[in-house]
Symmetry: D2
Subunit: 145 residues, 4 copies
């Protein structure tokens, strides 16, 4: 097994399909710029769900929520009505209370929008809280090198 294969195994990029509906588009005939962030958030949620972490369970169990601290998006090509998109998500870094993710919204392998996001784990009081150890462990196996 090559090193590349090992790396690939160790750093799976999560992939999530999105269909573009009328609600996502605007009068310019393209997806409204803020709505790509909805697509990205759906994909992050599904990445966490696939790893066994649900928003409602984390809130009920650990009293924690994931709050976006910083996001940047680069719009390369517009997505349009009826498009079948794919959102990839990879873990770029983990802090004590933060997760850094790189996300890419693509259509047929072509990148349309690139998103970088920093998420903070916060408690019921809105203050930073340490990432649960189980979540840290699950995500650390996915850090993109």
């Amino acid at each position: 097994m090559t090193l590349t294969a090992l790396n690939t195994a160790a750093t799976p990029t999560h992939s999530f399909p999105i269909r573009v509906y009328y609600e996502d588009t605007d009068a310019g005939g393209i997806v409204y710029y803020a709505n790509y962030l909805k697509f990205a958030e759906r994909a992050r949620t599904e990445m966490l769900r696939d790893a066994g972490f649900h928003h409602t369970a984390m809130m009920a169990g650990d009293g924690i929520m994931m709050a976006v601290r910083r996001v940047s998006a680069e719009y390369l090509k517009p997505a349009r009505l009826d498009d079948a998109l794919d959102v990839t998500t990879s873990v770029k870094g983990l802090g004590a209370a933060t997760i850094e993710l790189d996300q890419s919204i693509q259509r047929g392998g072509q990148e349309l929008c690139r998103v970088a996001v920093t998420i903070a784990c916060v408690g019921r009081d809105g203050r930073p809280a340490r990432l649960p150890a189980t979540l840290r462990q699950a995500l650390s196996t996915q850090i993109q090198s």
Copy 2:
């Protein structure tokens, strides 16, 4: 003072201006059908605010929320980007725990969308709660005859 004037005084229709932005439109070049309901909810909120009732204060004070039970909308003409709209709201009826409103979304006096909505007052447990007496009194002076 004429009867009409009396009626007008007794049954003020609340009016609220809305501007149409890109976020409201879709690839058909018109306002997305579900977004008229956002406009209507903003106008209802402002009608309550003008009468002295704020959502957050009602929740914090009386532990109540306004939940939509039923809505119907008729789309007569499309609203478009940059349109300056006006949303009128009038009280049609009051139940023990419900409010019935008639709303109209207009542009330059022309009706574009007609909305009828029934709102229920619910407690923290989601169960119906009596309308606060002060709210009932404030709204009853506005019942459209």
Copy 3:
């Protein structure tokens, strides 16, 4: 084969899964009332797509669009974050230029929201246009008796 079975075969109800994300919810902790209409529109779009009709292709080919004329929604129970919903769509009637649909948004077999919608087929000029014969035929086999 019983009559019931025949009817079931003749009147398939389309079903479409929806996951509830943060974007769909509001500060009341439940799905925002207008967003159920987004769910319903996604399901209608997929029903048409499954029958071979895509919005963009209909616009490019026949120069027609589907515009909502009338919608009513009854909110029975709230949907919440992380819920896995199912939206069923059945054809209730067909006019020369209109389609009437009954839709139901459910969670685990329990109905949360009931939607009735009338859609009009309109041309590039926004005026009513006859339903394409192929679409009429596809939908007429699905009329719910």
Copy 4:
């Protein structure tokens, strides 16, 4: 007249009020992260409108549209239901076909969200188009030093 006063006169920061409604919030009880970008776009649109430039008129007249190329947002404190916000917009730079803006979403003078956005002027074909001279002139008087 002091230099500060001169600078203030020479670099007017546009200000636009926004009210937070249920539609803007999520189940976390705060404004959903993508919705701050809607607030920012409304404020940009009003800044252009105040300078005499309307989206629909620019499209009809010059065949141009404003498309977001890049956006970054930093979330400092959450906005909540019923909040009265203020969005300030200042021109940071002008390219041949691009506008760079700094925006700030505030509540009672406290910054909640900081947005930096690069907008491109594009033609009907989606390709970059030079900023109209009149728009360039109007915005250049607002460049923040």
